[in-house]
């Protein structure tokens, strides 16, 4: 290790540095919405992204963004709030959910003014479609709440936010990988060490505030709807900074990934009138959710598909999937409302979804857990019996856990989450910058941990490859931490993942060049995934109940007496702690837990 330490020290002397008011890590919708708020307020903003901003995974969001505009059917934010609380299986924090649902309509209009090409109704207003888990009047008839730009809503929103940031002259550091946060001895976050991918050069970005908007960790699982880049980097950085991450046992499996391949088929396909059938042609969701049927919450639909397949009613030669049926909608509706899905299904399956059924199966999709924050986007950590903000650190979007999604996110609420809390964090950062006018001194020693982490990959010689370990980690998580879980299987899962962690220590890179070394980036990403795999299986093993996306076959019921609380996982000793759910909304009555039927 002596040589690695000396490499780390020599890097420190020559380290390039830049200073900004605020650093945003991640250029998806959450990071860009926050950056826009800050740039428009004349703060000096640096956005660091490991890919060019429009490559961020927000671009792949399809169906839309929830807001009670009531453009199609009667609606209001309070009904939206009820649906979100119920969808979260009562694990969502009701103050944050009220805040989000109240803000939704205003923020959709703001995006429209910024240029998002929403699909239109005949009268020129924004088109809305039905989505899962939505109701009018607190559990009544289906609502129509999801604002859509065809089935490319994420693309439309991400490009618009990037374009507005160009206009606002935000500083972008494209293709820079954030290695680790820099903290001082008082626990203030002072910025991050980054690696410029093209040159392999390090850059220390000092900032009075740092916002993490690094997205989810869908690459934990072998079959997933996520992009290659979704490796939960921000969550792992937070763990390494000694802070906890919250509710990691709740991972959403989307009901309709293309079977065996994983590409997402939007819930909007069912919102437009499509439905699921088993091998007998039966519309089986009627048995699981008599009222909402195919538009029940995602956890409910995913479990139903898994049960159909398990009980021998699956389709195909191996009976390992069900069909999504759209042909009864007519080619015009399918091609006009779901053009992206048509392209994708044609490309990957060679069929026209307006004619043939799409084979689908639940697929790892969304990280409900994340970095604990309050509704201003401030990262919070336990202090004595309560919790306090970590000074200078913010998180928004899929990497954060406010928690507005609780144990199960509703479709259409993630695009909403990123703009609502991106904006809120931007506003709070502006206040922080007013109160904290100067950069705090940065002690060189605080950078050394990050430098050591990097230098470890300079080792040469024999060792296992990163890609081999990544494959095994993904298979392990799929096998031991999937849709249905049990004590026995999860215990094995913990052992398996810890064994992989041990093997990762011995992994070696064959490529040590500096120029655009994607192998090195993937090694750093795998380290991040490994931290999160451990957090996920350990949190899942402890939670002895079934709630939302976390289904235990050995504890099949929700247990509000013992488990109506958030998990907090710490890297040190793999310790778990818990904190209460905030049941008190801002201005309305609380929605107490009740049986959840759709």
């Amino acid at each position: 290790m002596g040589d690695i330490d000396s490499i780390a020290s020599s890097n420190l002397v020559t380290l390039a540095r830049r200073k900004f008011d605020t650093l945003v890590i991640g250029a998806g919708g959450g990071g860009l919405r926050a950056a826009l708020q800050l740039s428009q307020a004349d703060a000096n903003v640096a956005v660091v992204s490991k890919v060019f901003p429009t490559r961020s995974h927000t671009v792949a969001a399809q169906g839309g963004m929830n807001a009670a505009l009531a453009n199609v059917l009667p609606d209001n934010w309070h009904w939206h709030m009820y649906d979100t609380v119920k969808g979260s299986d009562y694990l969502g924090d009701q103050d944050a959910i009220e805040y989000m649902c109240r803000a939704a309509s205003h923020l959709v209009v703001e995006l429209e003014h910024a240029g998002v090409p929403f699909t239109r109704l005949e009268d020129g207003r924004i088109y809305q479609r039905a989505f899962g888990g939505q109701s009018q009047n607190f559990g009544g008839e289906q609502a129509v709440r999801t604002c859509a730009a065809a089935d490319r809503t994420g693309h439309a929103i991400l490009h618009t936010l990037y374009q507005q940031n160009i206009r606002a002259k935000t500083h972008f550091f494209d293709e820079h990988f954030a290695v680790d946060l820099i903290l001082d001895d008082d626990g203030y976050v002072l910025g991050a060490l980054t690696l410029e991918i093209e040159t392999g050069e390090l850059l220390l970005i000092e900032a009075k505030t740092t916002l993490l908007a690094t997205g989810g960790a869908g690459q934990l699982f072998r079959t997933n709807t996520n992009a290659h880049i979704n490796t939960g980097d921000g969550l792992a950085m937070v763990l390494r900074a000694g802070l906890p991450i919250q509710d990691m046992e709740f991972f959403q499996f989307h009901p309709t990934g293309i079977a065996g391949k994983g590409m997402l088929i939007t819930e909007g396909a069912r919102g437009e009138g499509g439905y699921l059938i088993n091998k007998d042609g039966e519309r089986f969701m009627a048995r699981y959710a008599p009222k909402a049927k195919d538009l029940a919450s995602r956890d409910v639909v995913s479990r139903a598909i898994a049960v159909e397949v398990r009980d021998g009613r699956g389709c195909g030669a191996n009976g390992d999937h069900v069909f999504l049926k759209l042909d009864h909608l007519g080619a015009e509706t399918v091609h006009k409302r779901l053009p992206g899905i048509c392209d994708m299904v044609t490309t990957f399956l060679g069929i026209d979804p307006a004619v043939e059924h799409i084979p689908v199966y639940p697929t790892a999709h969304y990280t409900m857990g994340g970095i604990p924050t309050d509704r201003d986007g401030r990262v919070v950590a336990p202090v004595n019996s309560g919790e306090e903000p970590v000074p200078g650190l913010y998180a928004v979007g899929e990497c954060a856990c406010v928690s507005v999604h609780g144990a199960n996110r509703l479709g259409g609420n993630s695009l909403l989450d990123i703009v609502v809390f991106g904006r809120a964090a931007g506003n709070d950062i502006n206040e922080f910058l007013t109160a904290n006018r100067y950069h705090r001194p940065l002690n060189d020693a605080s950078v050394e941990q990050a430098l050591t982490r990097l230098a470890r990959w300079d080792r040469t010689g024999d060792g296992e490859s990163v890609s081999q370990l990544r494959d095994e980690l993904q298979s392990t998580m799929e096998t031991y931490c999937g849709v249905f879980r049990s004590d026995e299987v999860l215990k094995e899962g913990v052992d398996e993942v810890l064994a992989l962690e041990k093997r990762l220590e011995g992994a070696v890179l064959q490529d040590h060049s500096k120029t655009f070394n994607t192998a090195r980036i993937e090694a750093l990403e795998l380290e991040n995934l490994m931290e999160l795999a451990i957090a996920t299986v350990c949190s899942a093993l402890e939670r002895r109940e079934s709630r939302g996306a976390h289904s235990r076959i050995d504890f099949t019921e929700r247990d509000d007496v013992h488990w109506l609380k958030h998990s907090l996982f710490f890297k040190e000793d793999r310790r778990l702690d818990y904190k209460p759910v905030r049941m008190k909304p801002l201005s309305v009555e609380s929605f107490p837990p009740k049986e959840r039927v759709y």
């Binding site: 890919v51 060019f52 429009t54 490559r55 961020s56 995974h57 671009v59 792949a60 959709v108 209009v109 429209e112 003014h113 910024a114 240029g115 090409p117 929403f118 699909t119 239109r120 109704l121 005949e122 009268d123 020129g124 207003r125 924004i126 730009a149 490319r152 693309h155 439309a156 490009h159 618009t160 374009q163 507005q164 160009i166 206009r167 093209e198 992009a227 290659h228 880049i229 590409m263 997402l264 992206g340 392209d343 994708m344 490309t347 990957f348 490859s465 990163v466 890609s467 081999q468 890179l509 064959q510 490529d511 060049s513 500096k514 120029t515 655009f516 070394n517 994607t518 192998a519």
Partner: protein, 231 residues
Amino acid sequence: MHFRIYRFNPETDREPYMQEYTIDDLDPSLMLRDALLHIKAQDETLSFRHSCGEGVCGSDGMNINGRNGLACVTSLSSLSEPIEIRPMPGLPVVRDLVVDMSQFFHHYRAVKPYLIVHDPVPEVEFRQTPEERDKLDGLYECILCGCCTTSCPSFWWNPDRFRGPAALLQAYRFLADSRDQATEQRLNELDGPYRLFRCHTIMSCVDVCPKGLNPTRAIHNIKKLMVKNSI
């Protein structure tokens, strides 16, 4: 399957070369990106960009058997062997299949690719009829992969001055938007011999666009608007 892949690492190579790879037992229904990941698992020194794997992020534009396309939506069965893969032409190569796209994005930013509205905005959404909104179809879906611009001979000749098909498609996306109020400014900024008028209707852009968009038509429509605005 037999692959020939362009390799260049500026730290070790004096000039680029083609490297041969043979991969057995590849399912031909897989995409080219799957094959490249397969190759990378054996030789991690091969560098290329990729991310979403479904043709929406625009990361993995490359030249495949002489034609620009996205690796993740190009099926192996559609390609004849040896499958020859090179970086997109016309831009500096950083390493292997990775090109420096700075100039491409410079032109994108230069067309002011954002909605410009001078009037005070209403407290509700702007009204836009379905017919007005339909005019944005075929324009807003661009993923900035660069396949079109780097296959354009006019761009190869004047990469510093000709905006290129991708940027011009974006320019027209805002000219065509019923909400935008900067038509005259946008048209003025595209006037002159190079920025727009280097397009010679070669239509390589239309031929290669992985999203099926038509930048040539957008360029033609900008020219029509210029004529209309000048009389």
